[in-house]
Subunit: 136 residues, 2 copies
């Protein structure tokens, strides 16, 4: 199964996974947080990231979710990008993790999984009054 | 100035604001976290939410960012929706908060601010390999 690693600075990764697990323990199967201290040394953090990616890869690759493009957490992961091995999705939010729970069993290839997670994340962001209006 | 309230269960709201403040103290001006315990009573939480909204509204309204549509945090805030007073954006992520920092000074009306935050949030979510490919 494809595993997921959430990489952020601060405790955001831990809190996202804790929230997903509280909603449904099963949803967060295979999703692992990696919260990095704000003052972490870049080279040390790169070693931590590459170590975790190797541990998690069972042959189908690892999906990495990061807080934001241009941020240090993303910059730490980008050197590991490799087709079919490591895909990175930026802008992580809670609905992406919830959606992941229903996508992981479908045997999707890594890049397709990343695209579906992106679509789910984008669709989850609404102005609630417009969304309710369009449904009503 | 329009104030922003982030409402989530667990400590997600606190961690998002802490991350934004660590990136740039100025960016998180006027952004307030409200993290609710997972086992909070709905009626008590509604009182907390309405109290915070009243405190924060300086006349231009309050933008509320929540973790996900259909989640309890969003359900707690939706009864407070009111044109020009309270707008709710779901699917909060860190890039939205960073973008807010540059939007708050522009004197936008509440609904327009909410739309721009939604657009920024959606645009922040990429498959990094595609994004890099399209730029390269």
């Amino acid at each position: 199964m494809i595993k997921t690693l959430i990489v952020t600075h601060g405790n955001l990764a831990d809190e996202l996974v804790a929230a997903a697990r509280t909603i449904d323990e099963e949803l967060a199967r295979g999703v692992h947080p990696l919260s990095l201290p704000w003052d972490v040394d870049f080279d040390i953090a790169r070693e931590t990231v590459t170590g975790r990616l190797q541990e998690l890869d069972e042959g189908s690759g690892v999906l990495v979710l990061t807080d934001m493009f241009g941020g240090t957490a993303t910059n730490l992961v980008l050197p590991s990008l490799e087709e079919g091995k490591v895909e990175v999705v930026t802008g992580v939010n809670l609905p992406m993790l919830i959606k992941l729970g229903s996508l992981l069993d479908r045997g999707l290839e890594l890049h397709e999984l990343a695209r579906r997670v992106v679509a789910a994340g984008q669709r989850s962001i609404h102005v609630a009054s417009e969304f309710l209006g369009s449904r009503g």
